[in-house]
């Protein structure tokens, strides 16, 4: 008699050739020192894209793949930067150790805060992330003797990489340093891809898709959101540590909620349902910031305008739209 009504839903982003996007992105990233100067850019700009891209992709483990919104992710980015800076300044002049220090500081605090944050949902979840982010910001800002307060932490610099058989001078050679960043970026995003393809990663998507169904399949929701939050904070802190290495500097604005907002903007602009979306968003953001800020101090209004246009016309984000375009 009456026929079934088919629920119309938007098809998720499933590119016809999943490896194509990855191949194109890495081909572009590997050849940056060749083509970027031709376009009038400089390698450090690409370094910024990698660092902020990693931060946005780490944030997107929560927003895009667990379905929860953190508005305080800059805190873990900034803590990662301070962790790296403090390690270099006070513990040992070792770049790998600095990264470990950054991940530990941001990861441990993120995990502690996350235990409480994961008990909340929706707008309350977002509010609590802002609150903890601001706590971290003000503590860093006020703890003059340790963090340098308003002026930020100076007096450290990244150390050459000692591989045992040879030493790579990432301190003075910006090309070497770029490839070092790219290596860390590739490993970190590779781990993220493996995570999302694992049974645990699937439970996160399940929570995003339908929390009630996930709960009634025996998935302990709060625990998994907490784990996802902690993992996301570790990767975000790694990005922060790389940021400190890139600038030889860590400042409290790295924890400020305005950066949290920028991370959200990058992620949504690039496409939060696409794995590489946040990287594309970060690239667009960094390039816009660089070019427009050389013309006007009000560069953020232009970024804001472009953000609004992207959200209105390409709700899947730029990469989401491109991948849908190639779908057969």
């Amino acid at each position: 008699m009456s026929t079934a009504t088919t629920t119309a839903v938007t098809t998720p982003v499933m590119p016809a050739r999943p490896w194509l996007t990855t191949a194109i992105i890495f081909a572009a990233l590997l050849t940056v020192p060749v083509w970027l100067p031709m376009l009038g850019g400089y390698t450090a700009l690409a370094g910024r894209v990698l660092v902020l891209g990693l931060a946005a992709m780490s944030f997107n483990l929560l927003l895009g793949f667990t379905g929860v919104m953190s508005f305080g992710h800059a805190a873990y980015f900034g803590l990662g930067a301070y962790g790296a800076g403090l390690t270099l300044k006070y513990i040992a002049p070792s770049t790998p150790l600095a990264m470990v220090g950054g991940v530990l500081l941001g990861g441990i605090l993120g995990s502690l805060f996350g235990r409480l944050i994961a008990q909340r949902r929706g707008v309350y979840f977002a509010m609590v992330t802002v609150a903890f982010g601001q706590i971290a910001f003000y503590v860093t800002y006020s703890w003059d003797s340790l963090t340098g307060g308003y002026d930020g932490l100076r007096g450290f610099s990244r150390a050459p990489l000692n591989l045992g058989f040879t030493t790579i001078d990432i301190t003075n050679n910006s090309t070497y340093f770029y490839y070092f960043l790219l290596f860390v970026f590739a490993v970190a995003t590779g781990l993220q891809a493996l995570l999302l393809a694992s049974p645990f990663g699937r439970t996160l998507v399940a929570i995003r898709e339908n929390e009630r169904r996930a709960r009634f399949l025996g998935i302990p929701i709060e625990r998994h959101i907490w784990m996802s939050f902690s993992i996301s904070c570790c990767f975000t802190a790694l990005a922060g540590a790389l940021y400190a290495l890139l600038n030889n500097f860590a400042d409290p604005m790295g924890l400020h909620y305005s950066l949290s907002g920028e991370i959200v903007i990058m992620t949504v602009m690039g496409g939060m349902r696409a794995f590489w979306g946040p990287l594309i968003g970060a690239a667009l953001f960094v390039v816009l910031q660089d070019y427009i800020s050389s013309m006007t101090v009000n560069w953020m209004s232009f970024v804001g305008l472009i953000f609004v246009l992207v959200v209105l016309f390409f709700p899947r984000g730029l990469l989401g739209m491109l991948q849908k375009g190639t779908q057969r």
Binding site: A4, R202, A206, E209, R212, R215, L217, H224
Partner: protein, 249 residues
């Protein structure tokens, strides 16, 4: 011993008593239908059994263990699975991926960051089994959100079956369906009950489905138990006819 033993459960929301001291025993392998007019407290009763919320008073014993205050995940681990009145699935995933999440959860792999080939094969076997049981093999790689209402419901039942439940709770499995789909879902439930010996408790409005499938029927009205018995006994019960069946006609 009964699979499910509910002892005088009551649920109050403020001054409203949604369920008032209801008791019910379901034997292993039984198919029990709960019927009653709208507002009788059926779904509230269901929510207490499945752990959605705890009763204000009374006890729920599942297979010899008191589960009254246990969390959903713990009840699921003990072998309780449910579906909802409004289908709860993962709409943007394929049928296969929907089922995969259930299978991996049931196999205790849900917190694993890596699984080997042996476990992958085991997971795939579990998926194929649930697909076959529910007749969804042909639509395995379609997005659940694109399926017909009936197939979405079958997919939801399939994900519940991956938990190898000893008790399957179905909240209005044929709600909102046309003739054809109602028939298909009722057949699926019959197969699960007759061929695979699942213990099933379901809430249902479609009386043909209820009287065809159920071993026993529990009738609720205004939060209280009105009657309990075989379909023949219920059909002949004057209280039920007056309170429920009479009104419907």
């Amino acid at each position: 011993m009964s699979m499910l033993d509910i002892r005088n459960v009551t649920k109050q929301f403020g001054s409203l008593v949604a369920v008032n001291s209801v008791s019910m025993q379901v034997a292993a392998g039984e198919l029990r239908a709960i019927i009653g007019p709208n507002g009788a407290g059926k779904t509230t009763f269901f929510n207490m059994i499945s752990g959605f919320f705890a009763p204000s008073a009374g006890d729920i014993v599942f297979d010899g263990t008191t589960v009254t205050k246990l969390a959903v995940a713990e009840r699921v681990a003990m072998g309780m699975a449910r579906t909802f009145q409004i289908t709860e699935i993962f709409p943007e995933l394929t049928v296969r991926e929907n089922i995969r999440i259930g299978v991996e959860s049931a196999l205790g792999l849900r917190q694993r960051f890596w699984i080997g080939a042996t476990q992958k094969a085991e997971v795939n076997r579990g998926i194929d089994e649930a697909l076959t049981q529910t007749g969804l093999t042909v639509s395995a790689d379609r997005l659940v959100g694109e399926l017909s209402h009936g197939d979405q419901r079958a997919a939801e039942i399939a994900t519940a079956l991956t938990l190898k439940p000893r008790l399957l709770l179905l909240d209005e499995p044929t709600a909102g369906m046309g003739e054809h789909e109602t028939y298909a879902v009722a057949n699926l439930i019959r197969r699960l009950h007759k061929n695979s010996a699942y213990t099933i408790v379901l809430i249902e409005h479609d009386m043909r489905v209820v009287f065809n499938l159920a071993d026993k029927i529990t009738v609720l009205g205004e939060g209280k138990m009105l009657a309990e018995g075989t379909p023949d006994e219920i059909a002949a019960n004057p209280i039920v006819q007056e309170a429920y069946l009479g009104k419907a006609e």
